[in-house]
Structures are given as C-alpha cells and as structure tokens.
Symmetry: C2
Subunit: 244 residues, 2 copies
Amino acid sequence: MTAPQPDVGRLPEAVLRPATANVFETTVEQLATAIRLGVFVDGEQLPPERELSERLGVSRNTLRDAIAALRDSGLVTTRRGRGGGTVVTYVTPEPGSVATAVPVRRGAALADALDFRRIVEPGAAWLAARQELAGDQRAWLAESAAEVWATVDTPGHRIADSRFHLAVATLSGSPMVIESVTRAQAALGELLAAIPVLPRNITHSCEQHDAVVDAVLRGDAEAARAAMEEHCDATSALLRGLLG
Amino acid sequence: MTAPQPDVGRLPEAVLRPATANVFETTVEQLATAIRLGVFVDGEQLPPERELSERLGVSRNTLRDAIAALRDSGLVTTRRGRGGGTVVTYVTPEPGSVATAVPVRRGAALADALDFRRIVEPGAAWLAARQELAGDQRAWLAESAAEVWATVDTPGHRIADSRFHLAVATLSGSPMVIESVTRAQAALGELLAAIPVLPRNITHSCEQHDAVVDAVLRGDAEAARAAMEEHCDATSALLRGLLG
DNA sequence: GTCAAAGGGTCCGGGAACAGACCTTTGATG
DNA sequence: CATCAAAGGTCTGTTCCCGGACCCTTTGAC
C-alpha cells in the first residue's frame, strides 16, 4: 500500500506557506520599503507614533524599536517636543552599484517577482481605467507621470517611478491589488534601482507611462493594460539582460 | 500654513496595511481554508505535527492549538499511536443557505476580492500556458478539470472546482501567484459555495474550464487568459446578481 | 510476544509583543 | 513669562509564542 499520492503537483506544498516572520522585522521592512518606494519622500514627516502604530496594527513599543532601527540606518531622524516627530532623510543612492552591493535575489525569486509584476501591474492599470475617477484623482495620476519626466537624470527618478506605479495601483481602488503591486515593487525595487540610466531607456519608459495615463484617463481598460504590459516587458528584458 | 497635502490619493493610507493578526488565528484560518478549498480532501491525512508546524513556520504548540480548534469545529479528527494522525472529515455543506448563514462580506470587500480574482486568475492561466509542462503536470491539469465534471451534482463539486483553480495557479510556477490565487479563492470561497447549482451554469462553467485547459496545454497564453477571464466574469456576474 | 518506530500529548522556561500609564521636551499662545 | 498641548521617551505587568525535552499510545516487524 504505497501512498496513492499524485506526487506531481502537490497542492499542500504549493499552498501552505510559512506565515509569519517576527513582528519587529516585518515592521522595519514595511517602513523601510515605504520610504524606499517613496511613499514618504525626503523631508516628509511620518505620522505620530501612536497613530502609526495603530495603523500598522502593532504596539507602540514595537513601532518605536522599528523606527530606532531605521534611525540607525540613517533613513530617518527624530526630534522631540511639540512639532517634533520623525522625518525621512533619504535620498536614492547613486545607481551604478549594479547588483553587486545588494544581495542579489536568487534567480527563482527574481523570476517569480517579475512574473508576478507582469500580471499584477497591468491588472491594476486595467482596473484603474474602469473606475470613474474624480478630477483630483485624474490630476494626481497625470502629475505622478509628469514627475517621472521631471526627475530624469536626478537621484529622485527611481522614487518618482515607483510613486507612479503605486498611484496607478491606488486608483484601481482595490486594496488587494494595491498590496500586490506594493509587494512586487518592493521585491524588485533594489534591482530596478540598478538599471543603468541610459537616456534612451528612460525616455522610452516615460513614454510608456504616458501611454498608460492616457488610456486610464480615456477609460480604455484594454489599452491601459496593454501599455503597462509593454512597460513591464521592457524593464523585465533589461533586468534579465543585466543579470544573465 | 494648512498642510499642502494633495489629500486625494494619499499613498501612506493606501500602502500601510495592518500587518499581522495573531499567529494562532492565522494558523487556524490557513488550515481551515486549505481544507475548505480541498487542498486536503475528505479522509486525507494531514502531515505529522512536527513536519506541518515547521512548514507553517509555527511552533508545534501553536499548531496543536490550531488543530484542536479545527477538531472542535468538526473539520478533522485525530488518532494517536503509530499510523495515527489527523485526518480531514469535511464534506461540503449543502449549498442553498444562500449567503444567510455565512457572514456576508461587506460590499467593498466583495468587490475587492472579485476584482482581484479577475486579475490574478487569468494571469495565472496565462503564465501556466507559457511554462513547459511535464507529462505528469499536463495529466494532472486535465484530471483536475475532469474531476469537476465528474462531481457535478455531488457535494464535492465546490471542492473540485477550487482544486482546479489551484492546480492552474500551481502550474504557473510562481509562488507569489499561487499565494494570490489562494487568497482570492479563500476570500470568495464562502460565496462561491452559495451559487445555486443550476445545471446550465455548471455546464457552462465546466466548459470554460476545459477551454482553459486546452489553451494551457496548447501553450496558447493569450487564449488561456481570455478563457479564464470569461470564466471569472461569468461567476462574478452570477454572484453580483445574487447579492444585489 | 516483544520491541522499536511513528505518531500524538504534556510541560516548562525564556523571549517577544502588547497595553497602558507616566515622564520629558519643546514650540505655541495668551 | 506662564501655561498648555503635542509630540517623543520610559517603565511595568501580562499574554502570546517558541523551542525543546519528555511521556503516552498504537501498530507493524521480527
């Protein structure tokens, strides 16, 4: 009576994932990611600790430990007293340290993240195009794309780029989608930062952003998705080329 | 000097999500979901506690508490001694309790889950079609679809259906995609179970499964995605109709 | 019939997280 | 200048969770 397992596509192995890392580390990671992706930009203040801890579903103690870790990494500084608080002090490091400094994600994880992004970002664009967007939302999207153009050749470019992608995701209106895009961006962030800034690539990338914006604002979901797919494929090709 | 916040699409609110629930509850939820989605079918044994706890990244104590909770809910039973273990005792409840017994997800959460699924499941099918599948994987996929046909009009139908979807996701080969599909299925599972079993709907649904399988086995990614999109749209329409 | 192996069942000490109260600093305001 | 409020900083008791050692039950193998 040897087990009658199909043994080929074992669902349990595929589905049961190791759930939780340590809460403290998770919090550090989440805040660091938010900063590196430009959710909070340089000079911006984080919300007060009590508020932030509640939003993150974490005790204030743990949050404070996490902030202390960020402080040690030089990502934020803290001032006490009224009007004090924790402000972001982060400027994108110079690219060019092409995937040497950063612990390169193992091949499988990289492919995973790229595949995931290729699915989820176009999906977000598609969904966003189907929403009825308010005037300020439309303006926000356009500004986000414009900001990417505006920061070409500045250190802020990387951040403007991820802010644009997060803006698209946000306008999809679906929390699960937003979270997915965030995770994809976070997983690739280090690597995207390593893409050499050839003017040709960047221009092309910005044009694709504009195509996405255009389609979303027109409410053309299929076009929005197609444009974002192209964009993902382009950066994906660059990255794969870079890393063999 | 009122704050110069755009205030429209505040990224922090969108991105910073409450991270962790309680480990114990997470574990219970994960196992219960796995069982309800048919990752473990009726009569099947769970892995030994020591092994399972390691895979879930949870202490054996906590895992045991979780299993005890499942036992209290009647989802599993446990026998001691060599050859003993915890076996699943779960048969899909009769549908027909249309979204009355189950705590109906709030409207927004429902829409979120449907949107997410509509993005992620077709994406999984698309990716799966691009993989080079081994012979046993191809067979597994076909069997999964066949099983759905075979269980029409039996209580096992619901489970066969989600097993099919999880199989597609698994064949995509991307852990992040697998996880996303699992979450989508879990979020909708209760509701999908409430869809009345009109023969016409079910037949149609199975035909769409077959279309997906066909396209995946042919390696036609676009067709696979399109087929899965149709499928998601169909069930989505049914659900929305059911709940106003 | 005996025994060893493979399971589940129990217990305990230590560390992580939490909740909440309280202290200190500092800018704004009357 | 005195006061206040809004922040960060500190402390404490409690709960949750982990890791690991150990016990109990059953069954297949010799």
